[in-house]
Subunit: 387 residues, 2 copies
């Protein structure tokens, strides 16, 4: 068993700096004396650390607060514009990105169509997007967070496999870090979305939640005990390629009947095209189902039920009560959501299923971008972007 050893001086310094930044960030405006009281650090240590943070521009003095008898104390706050963070969402149709400040507030957003680019061309598109986002920004860049589809090894920033973009063992994190000279975090888009749902939940924050992204692919991000759980090979949540229908459609992974062929957007549109004899997108399917057309209601109900079955398995496995659905397929609306809920409830053990809340989350791109930023800021500064 590894025994705890005395923290080295360097570790202690970093730890104290993070503790002070977090305290000022969460509780500021606040005096040095109150930071010392809150953190249990000595006043001397707090003054040293705050001095360094003021030199770096992260913390600033904003004048004197009310006196409690003696001299009124100088108040500190984090300068939320002192560092910028970039979050990217490498989506199916668009690569989108935003520059955010240290509170996660959007400062600039750019979106570029993918238009079928893959391989090196898709990497070039990432550079193009980043160049446009960074042009004309003045504050130092803290780092870049990237949410991408596919299997991602977050530790190394390597995309193990992203079928859409034809990326395999691509060290995207290292490539981007080399070019821009800042720390880069790469996460799966569903995992980034889960992190955003957790980070920005505010008062309703719970320690365990599952975010499921239903687009062309289907993937989940798991927050367990307040942290992203990625599994042994960073593949936790890759539920889209579990075979659920032996007589199903061919999946782009090469197998037959994966969950995404039944519950994902492309499979839904293919079924609709077969039923109508012409290309039919999600919006048209939703409209037809709303008008009560039998082919459309059958497709919407079937897709929702397939996802519901996968959710029932997740409920049995993890007993997580907060499940958030995001992605283009959620546009199928209430009828689809009702089918998801019904099937999940009917197939999971009653005492578990009774307590589960399945809901539609915030808009996807925004969620992935903010999740990617949140992960980066958490790793670099130890801050949680949301109050």
């Amino acid at each position: 068993m590894a025994l705890p050893t005395k923290a080295t001086h360097q570790q202690t310094r970093v730890h104290n700096e993070r503790l002070v930044v977090r305290t000022v960030y969460d509780l500021g405006p606040i005096s040095r004396a109150d930071v010392a009281r809150q953190t249990g650090l000595t006043r001397t240590t707090v003054s040293d650390v705050v001095g360094g943070l003021i030199d770096e521009g992260v913390v600033r003095e904003i004048g004197r607060g009310p006196s409690s008898g003696g001299k009124a104390p100088i108040l500190l706050e984090v300068d939320q514009e002192s560092r910028l963070v970039v979050g990217l969402d490498l989506g199916e149709e668009h690569f989108a990105g935003s520059v955010v400040n240290l509170r996660g507030e959007l400062r600039r957003t750019v979106e570029l169509p993918v238009a079928g680019r893959d391989g090196d061309d898709a990497v070039a598109l990432v550079f193009d997007l980043l160049d446009r986002l960074l042009a004309g920004t003045s504050a130092p860049l803290l780092g870049i967070g990237i949410g991408t589809p596919g299997l991602v090894d977050t530790r190394s920033g390597t995309i193990r496999r992203a079928v859409n973009l034809d990326w395999r063992d691509l060290p995207l994190g290292a490539i981007v870090a080399d070019r821009y000279g800042v720390p880069v975090n790469v996460a799966n888009d569903s995992q980034a979305a889960a992190l955003a749902e957790y980070t920005y939940a505010g008062e309703g924050r719970v320690p365990n939640l599952i975010a499921i992204r239903v687009g062309r692919g289907v993937g989940a991000g798991l927050i367990l005990r307040g942290a992203l759980f990625q599994g042994d090979g960073s593949g936790a949540g890759e539920i889209g390629h579990t075979v659920v229908d032996d007589d199903g459609l061919l999946c782009r992974c090469g197998r037959i009947g994966c969950l995404e062929t039944v519950a994902g957007g492309r499979g839904i549109e293919e079924r609709a095209a077969a039923a109508t004899g012409r290309p039919t997108d999600l919006e048209a399917i939703r409209a037809a189902a709303g008008a009560g057309e039998a082919w459309a209601t059958a497709i919407v109900d079937g897709a929702g039920a397939a996802l519901g079955r996968a959710i029932a398995a997740l409920i049995g496995a993890l007993d997580v009560q907060r499940i958030v659905l995001i992605g283009p397929v959620t546009d199928l609306g209430d009828r689809w959501l009702a089918a998801v809920r019904r099937e999940a409830r009917d197939r999971a053990l009653a005492p578990l299923a009774d307590d589960v809340e399945i809901s539609i989350g915030r808009p996807t791109t925004n969620v992935v971008v903010r999740g990617a930023s949140a992960l980066l800021v958490a790793r670099e500064l130890g801050l949680s972007l949301a109050r």
Copy 2:
């Protein structure tokens, strides 16, 4: 966000005591000076804490070690017989229990047949088992760990639902703690088994593993990031009552086609009875399958495949690479295990499934008893029972 506050004096004392016990336990025989070096505590603190532990009999002096120049130091070790722990496995056919020492070594084992008892009679059987286990023991009892089937709220020690024993919202932990005057921990049997597999893995220990108990029921215990994950309602791993076969058998939970009706022991025996026209137990099925009888190979392959499908879903959800199977159904042997592995591999995303190791674990009762003890000792002393 909750801010860290200065540790209270009491918390510090408990923390230091645990740190010292763990150090002596893992590294003993060891001198006070080496404990101070390992822990980063001052020699004065170590001496104070060790004095208290010697008074309590948990730590003892065993003479002087080799001198490195000056006076030879007195060596300390944990007296592994100074406290006893009881672990129980409330199994389907038998309630079994063992008295173990602080190294998890069995000191006494008792097994009583359940013989259909349920409700209050089953609680009386637990008392009977504990009375027999404790008769004639002399060292103080540190506590009692209980592994039980069903949905268990570990925090309160309440059994929310155990179908076999007709227990519902039974505060078993409180009832046993009242009677024996010691701390009691109650966990689901699969969860206890997972903890035992993790604790006693030795050098091969990995941070994530899933233990699946396949008996009459089917349940999993999840170790994620080195700790038991129980979910929001302590129901994580309750995979046995997820519906997998819409045209299946009636389950004892009241639904049709739950996983346990296909992969569990009772469902397997029912299918065999239907095929042979007479009661047929697992041993007979295994023998018939070994002799190549078609009805038996079909049943063994089908049961293995059903479990394999559930495992594929777990792999997709969690990307956990170590999966251990325990329980009576594992007696079906290699053919069954091959079917489990094949189906799990064929249905999970290839890059994930390739790295998964599915194996048969140690004998169930032993595993559950030791897991229940390990959980208790970890909670009460902060020790991991295995080196």
